[in-house]
Amino acid sequence: MTAASTAAAQPAARTMGKLKAQRLLRALLPALSLALVLMAIATLNPRAISYFGFTLMLNLAIPIALATIAQMFVIAGNDLDLSIGPFVGFVGCVTATWLRDTPLVGILMLLGCIGVYAAVGALIYLRNLPSIVVTLGMSFVWQGLAILLLPKPGGRAPDWLLTTMGVKPPLVPFPILAALLIAAVAYFGLMRTSYGAILRGSGGNSVAIGRAGWSLLKAKMALFALTGLFGVLSGLALIGITTSADANIGNGYTLLSIAGVILGGGEFVGGRVSPVGAVIGALTLALAASPLLTFMQIPPDWQVAANGAILIVVLAARVLISPKGAER
């Protein structure tokens, strides 16, 4: 069914070569998309390609990248999280209120959120429920809690958070440094550790992982808890940038995060995800969303359309590279 199982039927040597080539292509596609967008920006406004320009353009990419990594963990386990956007919004509301006023309660609440995520994972596994419906329900829950906590936009980010997000490191802009760090942590955690392989395996072939004696329940809970953890980080980063919160602040992140994972070479089934690709995908989306449009001087009416068109052009680059019959 998948490309891998097609390849498995062929002699081993050719399989290895083919797999390697496919992996290389998969890894290169997101980078190529990002390069395309960067080139467009450089042509339109060469001055944007500078320390200051990148800091401005990519600032909002940090929470998007974190939310995308969060989404990547559930997708690695063959699930989908439709609640990540409202969840990021709720975390933002907690950050701008409880975490500032009574830090201990705030920290406990955020840890509790991660616990809820793990519990949702357990529920999905134990009752064998479609994750889309459960997380759809959870999206209402988070949104409701956020509105109860912060009926009107407001609150203020804790000072330590503002300082962290406002750091200006020498030479390399902070967002790029942050993106590298996020990609590195997610890559080594999921792709280079043995338990990371188990987690991916639980999405790729859960029966095999189960027969090998690993607890699928624990794997599912771990994946969801990781999603919760990165969702919390995303909410923190977002509030660190926007300085105040709003119950609806994260709603767009659900689709952005899914698009980022897919743009980064991830697939909906089979535990195939790429942490580095996901971060690059998120950066591409963040750049394509507003900076590029500003430089193209597109009238407000057509900005949304241009956004869609850019997504299509960026993805169309796949056609030039990806092998025929790559569809599932």
Partner: protein, 316 residues
């Protein structure tokens, strides 16, 4: 008799009807029976719009993992504007306006599939990008126009017979047709086969590309139809008219018992799930709770119902 009951209980869609019945009972218990019939009438009228897009979304989701039509809300918005503009408030142009909306939806569905097929973009992103473009077209197209439906058409979408909206009756007939198309026609069986295993379906001689194209086109067309009907029912078209149908179109399909893994679809469940969602909102509104509590309860009840109904028992 006992066997028949057990057989009925084993149907995955029965739970959505139970859920709908429960929230309805809770609502009329709260109002002491006041407005019980009115609630059903209102629920049927609103459920119609969810069911029409739900059927399109169901065929798309049945194609297998990753297949989903995210362009439906934008599609509904544009089609509602197109229909109202073509009808131009004239009862004589209703049929032409409806046709225009259908063609508008069909065109959107076709573009969606072109993006998926020609550019090999994953459906979820292809339909999302398309929806961005459609939204802009709608903003540009619908601006500053007085887009009201012709009185005859608006009345038709609101007509009731013995408290049952005519639109609901027509939609029941339509869903019955969709059920037959799904289970008894070559097209429906092909969709399910592709959802179960695309490669096997291709090797079995099914023209996978053609069936997928037809499915996205169908979903687009139904979105167009829904847009026209919504504009008639709410007496006016606007850009945001379809917004809530992004999540609801997926929710009614999945709560209704269609498998998100593809290859297993369920038509009666869509009605149950749509009634459940509408009545749930009605119930919470009669309770008079705040927006935050309403969202919170909606979420908890959806999770609760899906947990009680249980997922796919077969772990294959």
């Amino acid at each position: 008799m006992n066997g028949a009951v057990r057989k009925l209980l084993a149907k995955p869609w029965i739970w959505s009807y139970f859920g709908a019945l429960l929230v309805w009972l809770a609502a009329i218990f709260f109002t002491r029976g006041y407005g019980a019939g009115g609630m059903v009438t209102a629920a049927l009228s609103l459920a119609v719009f969810m069911v029409v897009v739900g059927v399109g979304q169901m065929f798309v989701i049945s194609l297998g993992p990753g297949n989903v039509d995210l362009s439906l809300p934008a599609n509904i918005g544009l089609a509602s504007a197109v229909a109202m503009k073509v009808m131009a408030g004239d009862d004589g142009l209703v049929a032409i306006g409806l046709l225009a909306a259908l063609f508008c939806g069909l065109a959107i569905g076709t573009v969606n599939y072109l993006l998926i097929w020609a550019l090999r973009i994953p459906p979820i992103i292809a339909t999302l990008s398309a929806s961005f473009i459609i939204q802009s077209i709608d903003i540009g197209y619908g601006r500053g126009l007085q887009i009201k439906p012709p009185p005859g058409f608006a009345d038709f979408t609101n007509i009731q017979i013995l408290g049952i909206p005519v639109l609901a009756i027509l939609t029941v007939l339509f869903t019955a047709g969709a059920g037959v198309a799904l289970q008894r026609t070559a097209y429906g069986r092909s969709v399910l086969a592709i959802g179960q295993n695309m490669r096997a379906a291709r090797l079995a001689g099914i023209r996978v590309g053609l069936v997928r194209f037809a499915t996205y086109a169908l979903s687009g067309t139904l979105g167009g139809l829904d847009g026209a009907l919504l504009a008639g029912y709410f007496r006016g078209a606007n850009v945001d008219i379809g917004n809530e149908y992004l999540l609801t179109s997926i929710a009614v399909v999945v709560i209704g018992g269609t498998s998100v893994a593809g290859g297993k679809a369920n038509v009666p469940g869509i009605w149950g799930a749509a009634l459940f969602l509408v009545l749930l909102l009605t119930m919470l509104n009669t309770f008079g709770v705040s927006a935050g509590v309403r969202l919170l309860l909606t979420g908890l009840i959806i999770v609760g119902v899906i947990t009680a109904a249980g997922g796919d028992k077969a772990l294959d």
